[in-house]
């Protein structure tokens, strides 16, 4: 059978869904399509199913918190890294999510492998994925309060014991007797 020629993802999405593609970025040989948050699932479905693109493999979903310097349109960014095995090339879909109600539609309908990746981002960054089959915390205990990987969440640093301060640390450090 004859493999259809590879289309350029940026133009293809520009032609098919002009209003959802906000910007195209090129950096160190990687193309990034910045998409409107509401129709990420639509774009993902399109990219996976059209014959010239066939991005059939979801490699990774990562979330970034631009907390102190806010130099991006919104505070949170979610990056979907997808890969096309047929044409052997990678693509990144970037979505910016506001700080108050971080909400992104889920892509588990397109790639079921996104199930746990989205749960981890909900657990670590507090970004809710609407339509996700099982939106629970993944890594932290179910009743943990706060989202640890946000940049305003303290690292939870505990003072290290050295010879000069070991007494007063051990005074209020709870050691189990039995």
């Amino acid at each position: 059978m004859q493999i259809p020629p590879a289309l350029d993802p940026a133009e293809a999405v520009q032609v098919a869904m002009p209003d959802s593609l906000l910007e195209v970025k090129l950096f160190r040989g990687e193309t990034t399509l910045i998409i409107k948050p509401d129709d990420i699932a639509k774009v993902a479905q399109y990219l996976r199913d059209t014959p010239g693109l066939v991005y059939n493999f979801l490699s990774d979903i990562s979330a970034v918190d631009y907390y102190p310097d806010y130099n991006r349109p919104e505070r949170f960014g979610v990056a979907y890294h997808i890969y096309s095995m047929l044409y052997n090339r990678r693509l990144r879909l970037k979505v910016f999510v506001p700080e108050e109600a971080p909400e992104v539609p889920t892509v588990t309908s397109v790639w079921p492998g996104a199930n746990w990746l989205e749960r981890e981002i909900f657990d670590m960054m507090g970004i809710n994925f609407s339509g996700h089959p099982d939106m629970r915390r993944l890594l932290m205990p179910q009743d943990w309060d706060g989202h640890p990987h946000r940049r305003d969440y303290p690292l939870g640093y505990e003072q290290v014991q050295f010879s000069f301060n070991v007494e007063d640390i051990l005074k209020h450090k709870p050691l189990a007797k039995e």
């Binding site: 932290m140 205990p141 943990w144 640093y157 709870p174 050691l175 189990a176």
Partner: protein
């Protein structure tokens, strides 16, 4: 080390009894099959053919806490795992000892953050701390021998 000095001239019965019971305890101290993280892999190398922990009476790694005498906490104890470690320690039969293997179990090690308990002695009483990240098998064996010396110097008043 009162016990060993008394051994020479067949002292009071209790001291020979101490020696006998302590010798029996260090002879076959079975560890709990309990591995958390990277130290567990070094713990497996210590148990495997090259370093062979069975030479020190640790032939079997018992999977249930009921049949284990020694809990080797090998790896980093996280906030979510802490109640489980405490539960395992509670469910072990009574003459039981704890070796905290590696820096992460002894003092939180390289992870000084929200997710790791800074030293397993916050949860369970620890007998011997083994340093290293991960400690070499020889270091763990040295820790085990230190524990054996500690057990051999115990007296009846401590555990009767």
């Amino acid at each position: 080390m009162g016990v060993t000095s008394k051994l020479g001239n067949l002292g009071v019965v209790t001291t020979t009894l101490d020696t006998a019971v302590n010798w029996a305890r260090t002879g076959a101290m079975w560890p709990l099959l309990f591995g958390l993280a990277c130290c567990a892999i070094e713990y497996m190398s210590t148990q495997a053919s090259n370093y062979d922990m069975s030479r020190f009476g640790m032939e079997l790694n018992r999977a249930t806490p009921r049949q284990a005498d020694l809990l080797i906490v090998s790896g980093r104890v996280t906030r979510k795992m802490a109640p489980v470690v405490r539960q395992l320690y509670d469910q072990m039969a009574s003459p039981k000892w704890v070796i905290s293997m590696g820096d992460c179990a002894s003092c939180g090690g390289v992870y000084n953050n929200y997710a790791v308990v800074q030293g397993v002695d916050e949860i369970i009483p620890v007998d011997v701390y083994v340093a290293g990240c991960p400690p070499r098998p020889e270091q763990l064996l040295h820790g085990i021998l230190t524990l054996h010396q500690k057990v051999q110097s115990e007296t009846i008043s401590q555990w009767a």
